[in-house]
Amino acid sequence: MSRKGIVRRRGAGQAALRLLLYAVLVLFCLVYLLPLVIMVSTSLKSLGEIRTGSLISLPTQVSLDAWLKAWGTACVGVRCKGIAPYMWNSVLMVVPAVLISTLLGAVNGYALTKWRFRGADVIFALMLFGAFIPFQIVLLPMARTLGLFGLAGTTWGLVLVHTVYGLAFTTLFFRNFFVSVSDGIVQAAKIDGAGFFPIFFKLMLPMAVPTIVVTVIWQFTNIWNDFLFGSAFTVGDSNPVTVALNNIVATSTGVKEYNVDMAAAIIAGLPTLAVYVLAGNYFVRGLAAGAVKG
């Protein structure tokens, strides 16, 4: 047992308790990991093995065929080019939507806290309200708006929708960060002769890097994983990958190819996983620093 840190009681009873604690933790871990393990192992099996073997048995022969098919040749509806083009659609949607909503959220948060104007609190309260509107409510008005803008059924339409609905959250994140930044810094910068945007870009944004990372992860995950807007506001070729995945699974020609479905699902989830791995450290730190505190 470790001799560092807080002094603990010792003895046989304590050791047993500890053991029990770890056993429970491991059990939870397994429960949590099992679905992922089954997905990965199923995606590496051949169709024959899936039919004969049991769900949780590991593949006897590892094969990447299902992955290749899911990526390049699986049929989504009538189009048999795999999910690759839809991945691309999602990237084209998620990158601008994340960047624009994060940048605008940062400007909003900065303006609301450091250039306080009459009604700033009311505006913030209204924006906050936007974070709680169920998305179903806005489907019809949004469809009409996109139609008027000539953006119906396009990736750019989806970018607009996600930017608008992300703003409530990104503004909240940045406001909560900038509120904790000393007003003196802005005053000093004003005396130094800097204006609204120079202060923002040269002083505030560099300070907000942890919040930027948290916001990017949050927005990326939400927008990438969105299904509702994707299925409502895009058609066929412009579908994001979540919608395409659904269509692959739902396409019923002949046998059900569980291995391809699993592989496609994992591929569709990989980008968010990658973002977490790359920036997750920051995310936890940002959470701990209260950046996501409502």
Binding site: I185, Q187, K190, I191, L203
Partner: protein, 369 residues
Amino acid sequence: MAGVQLEKVRKSFGQNEVIKGIDLEIAPGEFVVLVGPSGCGKSTLLNLIAGLETLSSGNIRISDRLVNDVPPKDRDIAMVFQSYALYPTKSVHGNITFGMETRHVRRDEQDQAVSEVSQLLHIEQLLDRKPGQLSGGQRQRVAMGRALVRKPDVFLFDEPLSNLDAKLRIEMRTEIKKLHQRLGKTTIYVTHDQVEAMTLASRIAVMDNGHIRQFGPPAEIYEDPRDLFVAGFMGSPSMNLVRGTLVGDGDRLAVEVRDQEGTVSFPLPAALAAKVRGKTGQQIDLGLRPEIITHHGAHAEGAMLSNFERAIDVVEPTGPDTMLVFTLGGAEAIGRVRSDEVVEAGRPYTFEVNMDKAKLFDPESGIRL
């Protein structure tokens, strides 16, 4: 050289009037200290002069130029903030040059200016560090450096030393004074600390609740306070106030203080007596600073002295002096004796008071008589 003039300056935040008509005339090169209790509007007044807040009414002139509508950057002022307000993502060098960069000063001039102030403030070795890697005193120096490179007409300081520990505060206080003597720039300095005010100021403005109560040289504020507020605010420990009754007739007046331990009579010197003639029988507040209530033989020759005896409640040695806490006229009072005086708590002690330095206040208005 630049003076600063405030004319009927008022500032309200919504319904809440914070600065209630302030007139102040600051001569070029002066070091004016604003003191006052928390929330009395010191920072607000400084921000008004800096242009960080907009006036509700009145006029502000810097170097005889009306600056009511001039933004901070064009006012030829520099400001040092209480929390330093350094730019955390910039190095010390970047902090100092930020203002010059926004004003597009040439690179070689920037470097020249940085090396000048960093030598002056002994921060040459720190130029590459971030503010987070500096100690409190070093941050303070950098904040001053950032103000100095502007070569402003007027320096504004908002409690620049309040985040430092006692020793460093005294060191920096001396440095600020030296700096002012060397540069001779007009300076307005806000502080809570009346010792800082006394040591630094050429004139002190005592503020209370949006007004200036008194504006004058430190000695005048200390020895000749206009009212109870100023008298009580300046000096540490603060002035003892004893409620008594004016007795006697003609020029032989005295303040009589009665409590459980008996009656003490404080005879008034002629100069004081002249001011309260005709008020015999009325209540009056007697103000005695701790240092004039002391042991026998400590006063200047020829001073008008008065003795009284009281039981000591608490003995507080401070090193050079010992503070004696006792009760007089129902209120707690403090006397100050030299440290080798033998005093025991609970025992009576005979104090000698220099009545020439006593002050009298009207108990209702608080105005000094």
